[in-house]
């Protein structure tokens, strides 16, 4: 029995005219990419943006590096860029929550703010991270990517990604209130 073709092979086929091949790639990763978007902008907007992500991926698939059989990190990267474009083009009158001065204009982090309201210490600490640190951190913690794949998703080398992750973790660990939060959770677990 022939094994299923990997994503790189399917992308090659789609460039060769196989109309179903790229749709198959999307089917494999849609749940993960949908969850990635939903965690950052909420379900409704994630549903609106998902089609844009696939179109952007379709248009740029010729640049896909076929040395990587798994297209997941690449698709996270396309989703990441779609979010950047979305936030960059957002009307100015739309409020940017409470961290306007802390993050750059394209940063989608403001939307996450609402979801993590109950964890204010963690939220504040996350808001203070640099965007790339935060993206690496959340790709690893939320999307279960390896550090190298998280780096690949946002176009930075594995070594840099590891450094960002290390810095981000140190920043979170040392942020005001984080020690207490960790202790609270430990108590909850103990009970």
């Amino acid at each position: 029995m022939t094994p299923d073709p990997d994503d790189a092979e399917l992308i090659a086929r789609s460039l060769d005219g196989d109309e179903n091949a790229f749709v198959e790639v999307v089917r494999r990763h849609e749940a993960a990419v949908g969850a990635y978007l939903a965690r950052r902008v909420g379900r409704d907007l994630a549903e609106d943006l998902l089609g844009e992500v696939w179109l952007a991926a379709l248009k740029s698939r010729a640049t896909y590096d076929r040395a990587f059989p798994d297209a997941g990190p690449w698709l996270f990267g396309v989703a990441h860029n779609t979010l950047r474009r979305h936030w960059r083009s957002r009307p100015a009158e739309e409020p940017l929550a409470d961290m306007t001065g802390m993050v750059s204009g394209w940063d989608p982090w403001a939307a996450v703010d609402d979801r993590v309201d109950g964890e204010s210490a963690l939220r504040r600490a996350l808001a203070l991270l640099r965007p790339q640190q935060r993206e690496i951190l959340t790709l690893v913690a939320w999307e279960d990517l390896t550090v190298a794949d998280a780096g690949r998703a946002i176009g930075i080398p594995p070594g840099t990604a590891r450094r960002h992750l290390h810095e981000a973790r140190m920043a979170l660990r040392n942020a005001p209130g984080m020690a207490a939060l960790a202790g609270h959770n430990t108590l909850k677990e103990a009970n």
Binding site: V23, E30, E47, W54, R61, A62, R173
Partner: protein, 340 residues
């Protein structure tokens, strides 16, 4: 022991995307594929390349030399020599509107500032705001760069991430300015292929279908052989697609425009009508072909200059998609330095 990663993981739950949304997003994708990348045997494969950029890893000295040679060839072709014979007349059956436009735009030596054309494609006829189609950069030597955004474009230039995908079509358009238009058409039909390539579409199609059937565990059913009429339709479609590629890739070069218009003027299936686009006099060229239903593609050009304004396509069960082109002359050095 709970660490910061555990705390973060506790926050990752979000309302999941609904199944219907996945289906709708896939439908958007499938519509785009149907409109953009119809089967290989019925549309020019290079059309897809317009949206992307093939990675050129490690440009060898030989490739650099070849690229330089092509650049020289393009430059030489685009510089008219004094005493050169005039353009061969178009046949009497040529489209009169396009013939007149060519006559009124006698191609001159391109006098263009900069060394490249920056092109933003979007859904607006009037605004050159960056949309979802990215930015294209066409160097005057025919090298094509593409990126999602400005920063990525800078990086593409810095890494020699260009592509020579349109050089063949540009060269044929330049030949068509004064050369025999039948020869130009024949060359344009294969302008997207490496020189000297003689594609056997039917054999390639059969091999592809065999491969797919094997992979899916199905029996291979040979397709019906193509009729002469169908073969001509396919060839004409390649001429149409490659001509548009040339025009889009060198919109500021009057000779390329003239060459493309001469070819288009001799394609009887291409309908030309006088139109207005966002208050600007334009000509709309329309070609129709069959590929699992009727596909209509239109090229809108400026009525006075032949500059490309927009390309739209309509496939069965898909909405009309129109891409507008906004171009400006730039230098590669400025783009690489982020001055744009």
């Amino acid at each position: 022991m709970v660490d910061e990663m555990d705390l973060l993981r506790d926050l990752r739950d979000a309302e999941p995307v609904r199944p219907r949304a996945f289906e709708e997003a896939r439908a958007v994708l499938q519509s785009a594929i149907a409109a953009d990348g119809a089967p290989e045997t019925t549309t020019a494969p290079r059309r897809r390349a317009r949206w992307g950029m093939r990675r050129t890893v490690g440009l060898s000295a030989a490739l650099v030399a070849a690229a330089a040679a092509t650049a020289v060839a393009l430059a030489v072709t685009s510089a008219p020599t004094p005493g050169e014979p005039p353009a061969q007349a178009l046949p009497a059956t040529a489209n009169p509107i396009l013939t007149e436009l060519v006559a009124h735009n006698t191609p001159l030596r391109p006098d263009m500032p900069g060394d490249a054309t920056l092109q933003i494609r979007n859904q607006s006829p009037t605004s050159d705001e960056l949309g979802h189609n990215g930015i294209g950069l066409f160097a005057d030597d025919g090298t094509y760069y593409w990126a999602n955004d400005r920063k990525a474009l800078q990086q593409a230039i810095a890494k020699d991430g260009g592509d020579d995908v349109f050089k063949g079509a540009i060269a044929v358009a330049l030949y068509a300015v004064k050369g025999d238009v039948d020869t130009a058409r024949a060359r344009m039909a294969v302008a997207n292929l490496p020189e000297g390539t003689k594609p056997d579409w039917e054999r390639e199609r059969a091999e592809r279908l065999k491969r797919y059937a094997k992979e899916r565990g199905e029996n291979y059913v040979p397709p019906e052989p193509l009729t002469p009429e169908r073969k001509k339709q396919i060839t004409d479609n390649h001429i149409w697609s490659n001509s548009i590629d040339a025009l889009i890739a060198a919109p500021k070069n009057p000779q390329v425009r003239a060459g493309v218009l001469r070819i288009m003027a001799t394609m009887p299936k291409v309908e030309v009508t006088k139109t207005t686009t966002a208050g600007r006099p334009t000509l709309t060229l329309e070609d129709t072909w069959s590929a699992g239903g009727e596909i209509v593609e239109t090229l809108i050009i400026d009525a006075a200059t032949g500059h490309p304004v927009a390309v739209s396509s309509k496939a069965p069960d898909t909405p009309l998609r129109t891409i507008y082109y906004h171009t400006s002359r730039v230098t590669l050095a400025d783009i690489e330095a982020g001055k744009f």
